[in-house]
Amino acid sequence: MEKTVNQRAWFLVLPVLVLVAFSSVIPMMTVVNYSFQDSFGGNEFFWVGLEWYQELLRSGRLWDAFGRQLLFSSIILAIEIPLGILVALSMPKKGWAASVCLVLMALPLLIPYNVVGTIWQVFGRADIGLLGRTLSDLGISYNYAQNAFDAWVTVIAMDVWHWTSLVALLAYAGLRSIPSAYYQAAEIDQASRWSVFRYIELPKMRGVLIIAILLRFMDSFMIYTEPFVLTGGGPGNSTTFLSIDLVKMALGQFDLGPAAAFSLMYFLVILLISYVFYTVMITIDKDEAKA
């Protein structure tokens, strides 16, 4: 279905433009401004050019946080995407059981981020937590507040707990849209369970899975509240991801210049990767429209 060209459609988009410009372009320009200037307190600013950018790129702080962030996002994508697909394939197809599954699975998604952190805090703590107490009673030394490895395991388990349902719900929506004729044809061909998955279900889920990867990548890359509440970025700096570091710099130390430069580079990286995903998604949309 070709869309018609109509320039007056701009009037329909105008309210969104005005609103988003107010809440995005103006603050963004402030950030750009700060990133090229220095201030000695008060309102006196002077031009420093690219100094903040150079300083940040030379310092280890940004690179360390970036490395931790990449590692974190890769791990949670590697766990959540396959696990989400597996859960979606295992879900009941209809009836009350399907409704119960949907509601229970969506529950973690609706819990405020800091409450997610709190839940895992009271669940994991060695003194009062169900998980922490059980592990230490079993003789496994576990303390996410002091051991960096334990902290990582807990933060990852928390993210898997929080967001795998999103992937599962998306994959489930994709599975539900496959016409039954496909399965009947596969049955006539005596296709194995694996080939049904590989040649029917996976290709039909491609579109929603890309949305899932895009959303999970973006959101995990800007994760802030959950690890902040759980570990506060520690022990040491071991779970200080990019957003935690940035907030520390901007609101904690009030280093406007470096924080602004940090913000812009951070945003650009997300933008770049997301653009790749988005382009892929649009191409798939077009392919499916043709098919």
């Binding site: 969104v16 229970l104 973690p108 049955e187």
Partner: protein, 278 residues
């Protein structure tokens, strides 16, 4: 969602499936169970003994929250800005989504991607500039400031989801209505909006959800009068002498609205998460 796919259960339903689902749901529910149980315990029981059920079942923690304005006003504040945000997002996103789903116009694809970039922007980047912007227009610590700030990610999302639902409606319907003499406004409000009712419901659900769960911006933009419950909770966490029971009770009370809302949209939730694109 299309018609029920009739899957031959005998052949394709694998038995381990139920095990996977049961295990996954258990994994989801155990931490929540612990929080709920903790909210019914006294502080001394939480700290001194390790019990799977409360020995002394108490409602004191809930009583503390529901009788102290500095606690329960947090819920009221959250509800006010979440509702404001949902209404604003839907009002501006509806016409825009219609334009994107029906017409080509100068710069449409770029505009759409630019909108999405705002959904991708880390709130941490915007915390400081928002604080300065809303302070300078004297909106700091008001509900409308938080509602507007959350539009940053909710409006693009609303446009995205609504566009997905709208493209599923054949354009012949628009054309027929225009031939029948409907003006655009009347067609849009009387015919089109009712037709995408489920899409609007799902979009409202997502705006509610993302505004409800967000902490960083809402905490940065408020101090007293509009402070949301989530920020009040973090303040309690950082204070000395943690009151775990009250904290758990406050957490449980933030889960309930979400659970109610999910129940109402349960049949559309999967399609909604797929942004209306299946």
């Amino acid at each position: 969602m299309s018609a029920e796919p009739r899957i031959n259960n005998r052949k394709f339903r694998i038995r381990p499936a139920n095990v996977v689902i049961a295990g996954y749901l258990l994994f989801l529910l155990v931490p929540i169970y612990w929080l709920v149980i903790m909210s019914f315990k006294t502080n001394s029981e939480i700290l001194s003994s390790f019990t799977l059920f409360p020995d002394n079942f108490t409602l004191e923690n809930y009583q503390t929250i529901l009788t102290d304005p500095s606690w329960y006003m947090g819920y009221v504040n959250s509800f006010i800005y979440v509702s404001l945000n949902t209404v604003i997002s839907l009002l501006v996103a509806l016409p825009a989504a219609y334009a994107f789903s029906r017409y080509r116009f100068f710069g449409d694809n770029h505009l759409f991607f630019w909108l999405l970039t705002n959904r991708m922007a880390p709130p941490a980047v915007f915390a400081l500039p928002f604080f300065q912007l809303y302070s300078s227009v004297s909106l700091f610590d008001t509900h409308i400031a938080v509602a507007l700030a959350h539009c940053l990610f909710n409006v693009p999302l609303a446009v995205w989801i609504l566009e997905g639902f709208m493209r599923g409606i054949p354009r012949e319907i628009d054309e027929t209505a225009f031939i029948d003499g409907y003006g655009f406004t009347r067609f849009f409000t009387r015919i089109f909006v009712p037709m995408i009712g489920p899409g609007i419901g799902v979009t409202a659900f997502f705006c509610f959800m993302f505004s409800w769960v967000e902490l960083l911006l809402s905490r940065t933009l408020t101090s007293v009068d509009a402070k949301p419950i989530t920020a009040i909770m973090t303040r309690t966490v950082s204070a000395s002498g943690l009151d775990w029971g009250v904290l758990a009770a406050a957490g449980v009370l933030t889960i309930i609205p979400g659970a109610i809302v999910i129940y109402f949209v349960r049949n559309y939730i999967a399609k909604g998460f797929a942004l209306g694109r299946v």
